[in-house]
């Protein structure tokens, strides 16, 4: 193994970039689980639809219109999913939410294949983001650096809304005691719908920004779902700070692992989850456990 310091630093930096992207995917999932108390396994599907909408719209109307429209379309999809499916399982056994959203996602994966075909699709990075930059001796993708900055901005915006606005205060209160929210006169069903739509929007946005990076294929939602779930659990339910830290942790560890144990990079996030939950069942910054949350304990 020929290891040099600049390569290790480059891999560490790459891990941070990847971690921020994963955190954007995970934050919507974490919010829905924390507030609506639903394990939404259609989150990956929404991510995939974001990428596919972006591909279709950018081929006809251009990059900027696609960037604007795609997450909105996914948010509308999220609204329909919440109204027609998820609303029926609030307050019930968490498995119902998981099963109904997972089954829906599998079925919709077939719809993706029917609409866009089985072949993988590709989107070009926008012209202003093409090319590479040199970081010391290492060449790095310009688009990923821009993506990391955009991802950080999105995460900080979500954090600001949750921690600095009255709407965010209601969301945080809802994580602890949803019945109290109702008793205080807030519309709990509307809150849950709102959070679900926001989560869908974030998933769609993540799909849009990831589309130029990874090949767009029907199974991409399933591929991203487990990393999002793991990061949400490691970080702690509904904790934006936790999601960011967990995303960075998973991203850097898996990036560096390629250098030392490339055959085991896929299982590392799961091992990290086991270790974290063993010592901190509520995640790094969570205040309730997964099952305790969804059972209202």
């Amino acid at each position: 193994m020929d290891m040099n310091v600049s390569l290790v630093l480059a891999l560490f930096f790459n891990g941070i970039v990847l971690g921020l992207i994963y955190a954007v995917v995970a934050v919507g999932f974490s919010l829905v689980l924390g507030v609506a108390q639903v394990i939404n396994f259609s989150h990956g599907l929404l991510f995939a639809f974001g990428a596919y909408f972006f591909w279709s719209i950018s081929n006809t109307a251009g990059f900027w219109i696609a960037l604007f429209l795609s997450p909105i379309l996914v948010a509308i999809m999220g609204l329909l999913i919440e109204l027609l499916l998820v609303r029926r399982v609030y307050g019930q056994d968490p498995l119902f939410g998981l099963l109904i959203t997972f089954g829906f996602a599998l079925a919709m994966e077939e719809v993706i294949r029917m609409i866009w075909g089985k072949v993988a699709r590709s989107v070009s990075t926008p012209a202003f983001a093409q090319g590479q930059l040199f970081i010391g001796d290492i060449i790095y993708s310009k688009y990923r650096i821009i993506l990391a900055i955009v991802s950080l901005f999105i995460l900080l915006l979500v954090w600001w809304v949750i921690t600095r606005t009255s709407f965010g205060a209601i969301i945080k209160a809802g994580m602890f005691d949803s019945e109290m929210i109702s008793a205080l006169g807030h519309n709990l069903p509307l809150l849950r719908t709102g959070i679900f739509v926001i989560g869908a929007f974030l998933a769609g946005l993540a799909g849009v920004i990831a589309a130029p990076l990874w090949s767009i294929k029907s199974g991409m939602g399933t591929d991203i779902l487990m990393p999002a779930f793991i990061i949400a659990l490691i970080g702690g339910l509904g904790s934006i700070k936790g999601t960011i830290v967990a995303g960075l942790l998973v991203g850097t560890v898996t990036s560096l692992a390629v250098l030392f144990i490339p055959r085991f990079t896929d299982i590392l996030p799961y091992l990290m989850l086991i270790v974290v939950l063993f010592y901190k069942p509520k995640g790094l910054f969570g205040e309730v456990t997964v099952l305790g949350e969804v059972r209202g304990e």
Binding site: D2, N4, S6, L7, A10, L11, N14, G15, V17, L18, R113, G117, K118, V119, A120, R121, S122, V123, S124, T125, G131, Q132, D137, I138, I139, Y140, S141, Y143, R144, P212, L213, W214, S215, K217, S218, G219, M220, D223, I224, T254, S255, L256, V258, L259, P262, R263, T265, D266
Partner: protein, 402 residues
Amino acid sequence: MFKFKLTVIVSLVLILIAGCFYATSLAVEPIKIGLVSPKSGNYADHGGMERVGMYLAVEDFGGEVLGRPIELIEADSETNPDIASRRAKALIETENVMFLMGGVSSSVGIAVGAVCEAAGALFIASNENSDTITGSDAMKHMFRVPPNMAILVRGAAQYVADNLGKKWYFITHDYSWGQSGTRWARNMLDVVGAKEIGEVLIPMNTRDFSSYLLQVANSGAEVACVTVGGFDGIALYKQMSEFGIFDKMKVWWTLADYPDSYALQPEQRGRYGMMEIYWTATPELIEFSKRINEKNPNAPVHVTETNSYSGWLGMTALLKGIEAAGTTDVDAVIKAMEGMIICDNMQPNPTYIRPWDHQFIDSMFFGVDNQESGDDITEVLFSMPCKDFARTFSENPVDLTK
């Protein structure tokens, strides 16, 4: 007495009528062929294309052989050996299917081949390239259509060393087929005067290759020797463009599949690679491309490529084998296929089915992807007959009788 005689006569007539129906049903009983082909997983798009070719081959045969209609039964292998072997077993045991084809993934092909070997059915590995399929994993009841990695790599290696560079970095899809490609490239290092700089192993279903590509870009290699396929291959190809790998070194794909290049935007392409077929190689292949589009306007790609061609050739060989054998007895069909020469294969060289390892031998094409729009996305630099690079019996002493 009269009533008794009437009863006997009516009974005999009814038995006669029933017997006629039974005989008729036997005569038109279809010949079932199972297509254990991926509709999901890493090779879903390849599976879609190979099935297009298979259906066109059946059409070329008029939809029947030995006076019996051909019935194709599809089963999704999901690019998973366990699932594929279960589905193959179900086809054999519940549908009485004795002829199967498909796979794409070499791991799937080996698994399904083993099921067929145990059951006495015949399997045509239509798009598997790992050399073990006609080597250490060879079976009497399995044939393989496309060139194996030994042929593809040995055919390209000298050109790569002489024209692209002699410092090679291996990027290996970490399963049977990927390891096979890298193994053969390593075998050629001393032969062509090249040197190994390093290797990265890519797990299946990898979505982000940035960490691997940072290592490759930092290696000082002149050539990235890549054996990665399917959706993973497309993602890797795309991200190589993103990281400017094509500006740092040449990229040699040991097996370059057309759908993988076609999936990219023109400006993202730039790899060299060996292909099993290229659609402009003969007028017959161009014509076949038109048929693909007429048959299936929604096909993932619009021209003849490896998967559709190998699906067509594999099905054609099987049907010719059944026709030549004059029976659907599997052993007789195997015997008929061994040593068969197929001249009307749309290629510059006829296809020869080698009897001792069941490997189809015909042609291959080395090219470099261009950045044109449309369907003509690769410039073919040269073509060659596979027989010049195929392993001999002394190199690969396969025993199909064990």
